[in-house]
């Protein structure tokens, strides 16, 4: 505390205290000099002279005292003995008084006085004090003045001390508040970091989802565009035909279209081009998608150029079926994605719910589908009891573990996810493992620390405190999380949670 106090001159520090820098009313040095001069000639004074060797106590606290010591030579330290500390009050030198209070009031000694050096004093008891005053009227005036200024000085010290104590208390209070504020700020920073990490994960998820949703959305939009312009035409042309069964057949074939490999299709297209050299490529490509049985029904119209209008009609019917099917698939995709996202990101309620966590993991995998395009996911789920938990929070745990695994494998490899009932029948374990490089032993201990990260500044997503958050969520659910080496290489994270029994 001492060192924190600003170093200021005394007078500046206590502007309200009577001029601490004012010169003493009477000069101590002159007074001492005068006494010393008179001493050899004065029998009284020689008798009153008392010396103390270094280290000797002149006065002990709480003892009776009937002497007033005037220091002539040497220094005396004054000590106040407290319960567990001795406080050094200060040093007294030539011209100062020792025992003034107890001498004047008759009360027990207030502070102990100890000779710091060899000390010479004039020791006056009450009788000799009277004699001294009458015998030496010329210096007794100085003596009285000195006593007065000594008392004034003591009073000043007391006031100064009070002010200092008040200042210190104020400083302490300020520091206490500062600490409180710092703690609050730390708390806020921590929460901000956690939500920032969440936002980063969310950012990564939405970036992936944008692609996942934009694909079916493109197909959807353009298919609808195509159908809006072509269906009226198709209907009109078909209604002119005596029999619409064939149109319907090709439309339905389009609905069931399955995509073959492109190389294979190219080969088929070349064959068709040889067989029907008069047909345009766009027709040939559509035909190349069809099975041979379907092509057989198309043959009568493909062979003759004059039948080409009918061929176009049937191919349009087929194409309409394909687009209709595309709309159905795209809509289902978007619906599924949105549903997964909704249940994935559900806000935690106040009360935990009882859930089958395998669902949450499946949803998480669905949401992360974009990251998992080149990753084989091997799922081995046993029957497990339900767990009382905040599903949304645990989804964050699965997300973090899976994203970590993907990072570790550079997005190419195998992800192993399994779960089961622990031997004690009271816990459920979940394992997320990968066949990446694994976690080095020296990192294992620190991997859940919030200050630990392997991420470098160049990486886009996350703060690298994902595992710390993961751990805090797991602990909130009274569970544990550990990291091991996978037997065949790679890392394995095991989350154990209490089952709801």
């Amino acid at each position: 505390m001492e060192s924190r106090r600003p170093e200021k001159p005394k007078s500046e520090r206590n502007p309200n205290v009577i001029g601490a820098s004012a010169r003493p009313i009477y000069d101590k040095a002159t007074f001492v000099e005068k006494i010393k001069e008179m001493m050899p000639a004065s029998e009284l004074m020689s008798r009153l002279k008392q010396t103390f060797p270094e280290g000797k106590f002149m006065l002990r606290e709480f003892e009776e005292n009937n002497k007033l010591f005037i220091i002539l030579d040497g220094y005396v330290s004054q000590v106040k003995e407290g319960e567990d500390v001795n406080t050094n009050i200060g040093m007294q030198g030539p011209g100062d008084f020792i025992g003034l209070l107890s001498f004047q009031t008759g009360e027990p000694v207030f502070t102990s006085a100890k000779a710091s050096t060899k000390v010479t004093t004039l020791a006056l008891d009450h009788d000799s004090f009277e004699v001294f005053l009458t015998r030496y009227p010329d210096i007794s005036k100085t003596l009285q003045g000195l006593i007065f200024s000594n008392l004034a000085e003591r009073y000043r010290k007391v006031v100064t001390l009070h002010v200092e104590v008040a200042e210190l208390t104020k400083q302490l209070e300020a520091e206490k508040n500062h600490l409180k504020k710092t703690i609050r700020e730390l708390e806020r920073t921590r929460n901000a970091l956690i939500s920032q990490e969440k936002m980063a994960t969310l950012g990564e998820l939405t970036a992936g989802l944008a692609h996942e949703i934009n694909n079916p959305a493109s197909a959807l939009l353009r298919s609808v565009d195509y159908l809006s312009t072509n269906l009226p035409d198709l209907a009109q042309k078909a209604s002119a035909l005596p029999e619409t069964g064939l149109v319907r057949f090709f439309f339905e074939t389009g609905l069931k279209r399955e995509f073959a490999g492109t190389a294979e299709q190219r080969l088929k297209m070349k064959e068709l081009a040889k067989r029907y050299p008069h047909l345009q490529r766009s027709k040939l490509r559509t035909m190349a998608e069809m099975g041979n049985d379907v092509l057989d029904r198309l043959r009568p119209f493909a062979q003759k150029e004059e039948k080409e209008e009918m061929l176009q009609l049937l191919l349009d019917a087929y194409q309409s079926g394909v687009f209709m099917n595309g709309i159905r698939l795209s809509t289902a995709r978007i619906e599924y994605l949105v549903k997964s996202l909704k249940s994935y990101s559900r806000q935690p309620g106040k009360e935990p719910e009882v859930a089958d966590l395998r669902e949450g993991i499946r949803e998480t995998l669905q949401i992360l589908g974009n990251r998992l395009k080149d990753i084989k996911v091997k799922i081995d789920f046993s029957e497990i009891p339900l767990v009382r938990c905040f599903v949304g929070e645990l989804n964050q745990v699965w997300t973090n573990l899976i994203i970590n695994a993907c990072d570790a494998m550079n997005d190419v490899g195998t992800l192993y996810i399994s779960c089961g009932l622990a031997d004690d029948n009271e816990h459920v374990w979940f394992k997320v493992a990968d066949n990446g490089p694994g976690v080095p032993d020296k990192i294992k201990k620190r991997i859940f620390d919030s200050s630990f990260t392997t991420k470098t500044a160049s990486q886009d997503f996350g703060l690298g405190i994902g595992l710390a958050i993961t751990q805090s969520i797991v602990e909130k659910h009274h569970g544990t999380i550990e990291v091991h080496d996978r037997q065949c290489g790679g890392a394995e994270f095991v989350v154990t949670l209490p089952a709801d029994r």
Partner: protein, 162 residues
Amino acid sequence: MSDIYIICVEDEPQVLDVVIRDLEKLEEVFPIEIAHSADEARQLINEIKEEGNKIGLAICDHIMPGDKGVDLMIEMQKDPFTEHTRKVLLTGQAGLEETIEAVNKAKLNRYIAKPWKPQHILEVAIEELTTYVIDHEKELLPYMSVLDQERLQQAIRNKGYV
């Protein structure tokens, strides 16, 4: 005369369907071929090369299983056979870094965001193919029917012969 191909690389069949449908008009002059992945695209590029034809335009998705679209385009840029192919990235989402890489290393010509507006892919394809034929073909008349006639005429005038 060798054919100038358009190749479309996209892993989603439904998206591929609509891309082809959007480009159908061009097919009387520029044969369209498709691939579902970068690997299939490499095979396709090889076949076109072996048949003595050229590739004028590549429209490519970015996020696909296996190699990404940008990687394929960088590869094409390094191969003299496809160096001058006009390259268009068609994607729902590519990170800024990937896009910058595509522009810098693959000399990406255009970027089309999914979902796109009707006609947009066709307009982009016409513009890019017009640039391609002006830069690399001596005879421009055959392309008048499907490409940007104004630019082609201007180019013919500039070359000083019909």
